[in-house]
């Protein structure tokens, strides 16, 4: 296999973009399914959280893997975008993008904002930096009745801040845009888009990106509408009993 082709050629870089995109898409799907367990109650979610955190041998390889995937995705995006810009040094006075959708024309922008979001998100819920969760609490110290890290409480507390939730929703909308074009482009770039499947793939892309959007935003919206506040009350979080 001629690996230099993959990194040097335009088509090869699109392969990298597509394969990493596919991996990230799968991650986003799994992550969403995991998160939606919030609707099963604190028991289930915290068990899931403990399960993920409990296998350092799996957790770190997975994190490093994801990091590599993200970096490759970003690297190819930057490289391809720079080439694209160079390919048209003098622009049009009047340019009609015809069939190019808004999503397809803003992939870099939506991607960069999503990247900013991911950094915030990691600090918010993974590193759990106290300064940026705007609740005045240290998420690291949340503990549920069974002595596990109280992921459920962390999510509820986190999303009760309307600004934080709004940022999440906006970011998910951008993810939706990014995926609505990205999923079908991924199939095309990898050459998995033969005529018979063309409409199937566009439908999959549309349904897939909507599902992800709705799945993710359902959590902050539910929280803003009051979901979980009873739990917080019950456990005394709102009375400031716990630190």
């Amino acid at each position: 296999m001629n690996i230099t082709n993959i990194f040097n050629s335009s088509v090869g870089k699109k392969f990298i973009m597509a394969i990493t995109g596919m991996a990230l898409f799968l991650f986003v799907v799994l992550h969403m399914i995991g998160n939606l367990q919030v609707f099963l109650g604190w028991e289930e979610l915290n068990r899931y959280g403990a399960f993920l955190q409990g296998n350092i041998e799996l957790l770190w390889p997975a994190r490093i893997g994801l990091l590599v995937v993200v970096l490759l995705h970003i690297w190819s995006a930057i490289k391809l975008s720079a080439e694209n810009r160079a390919a048209r040094p003098v622009g049009y006075a009047n340019y009609d993008p015809t069939a190019a959708s808004y999503a397809s024309r803003t992939m870099l922008m939506s991607g960069l904002i999503i990247l900013a979001f991911i950094i915030y998100h990691l600090l918010h819920f993974t590193v759990q930096t106290k300064a940026i969760n705007f609740t005045g609490r240290d998420f690291v110290k949340l503990e549920d009745a069974k002595g596990r890290h109280d992921v459920f409480a962390m999510m509820i507390l986190g999303f009760q801040n309307p600004l934080v939730s709004a940022f999440y929703i906006v970011a998910m909308f951008l993810l939706f845009l990014h995926l609505s074009h990205g999923i079908q482009a991924m199939f095309a770039s990898l050459g998995w888009k033969s005529p018979g499947y063309r409409s199937l793939i566009s439908r999959f892309a549309l349904i897939g990106s909507w599902a992800i959007f709705l799945g993710y935003i359902s959590i902050p919206i539910a929280v803003l509408l009051g979901y979980g506040s009873g739990y917080l009350n019950e456990h005394g979080y709102l009375k400031g009993v716990l630190k």
Binding site: M1, N2, N5, I6, N8, S9, S10, V11, G12, K13, K14, F15, L80, E83, N84, A86, A87, R88, P89, V90, G91, Y92, A93, N94, Y95, D96, P97, T98, A99, A100, S101, S104, R105, M107, H181, Q184, A185, F187, A188, S189, L190, G191, W192, K193, S194, P195, R198
Partner: protein, 256 residues
Amino acid sequence: MNLTLRVWRQKDANDPGKMVEYPANNIIPDMSFLEMLDVVNEGLIAKGEDPIAFDSDCREGICGTCSLVINGVAHGGQRGTTACQLHMRFFKDGDTITIEPWRARAFPVLKDLVTDRGAFDRIVQAGGFVSVNTGGTPDGNAIPVGKVESDLAMDAAACIGCGACVAACKNASAMLFVSAKVSHLSLLPQGKVEKNQRVLSMVKQMDKEGFGNCTVTGSCEAVCPKEISLNFIARMNREYGMATLKGADIKGRSGD
């Protein structure tokens, strides 16, 4: 019809160029777009001004010479139509029409609306052929070709190499052009033999020419006067992937 034209004027390759406004009066809806420009040019010549240089030849939509971005759309926006086949009945009296050349680093402007599309030729020179010499070929019916494959190959082969795909693409990518040639030849048994080397060589040359990358937006397909399908791009990507996996060698190819 009376129209206002905003036209890109550029004296030569080194001139920065600018948009210039011209009136186009007494235009008849039955005129083709290029005949309208002929009329404007006749007027300019009569006044001793330099006429607007634009490329055209067959004027029946097959040679691929004409190359105008009209109101921001390559070939003007009538589906499956070259600029030479676009007729003035497509416009309204009083319209302002902007006319620009193909814009891409790989297609430098030579003068006004005339660009150099030699990059396309060089891509074909790199491998867009079947390596057979004249003579010694088997009987035309010796290798049967299924009608379905043959028709699909013809769909791809219909490309006229005008470059509208590049002009319309936000990234100035040549993927539709290249994939059409790659697909045309690899769909036929005659061309299958060297399909791995072909796709690798042609993509390599395409990259060298400075075209952008494919974002699969579909603009190329939308403006293509021969309505070449975006599916060919996916097909080429697949072929490129297979050729890379197989580690096909392109040394000794003419374009290498």
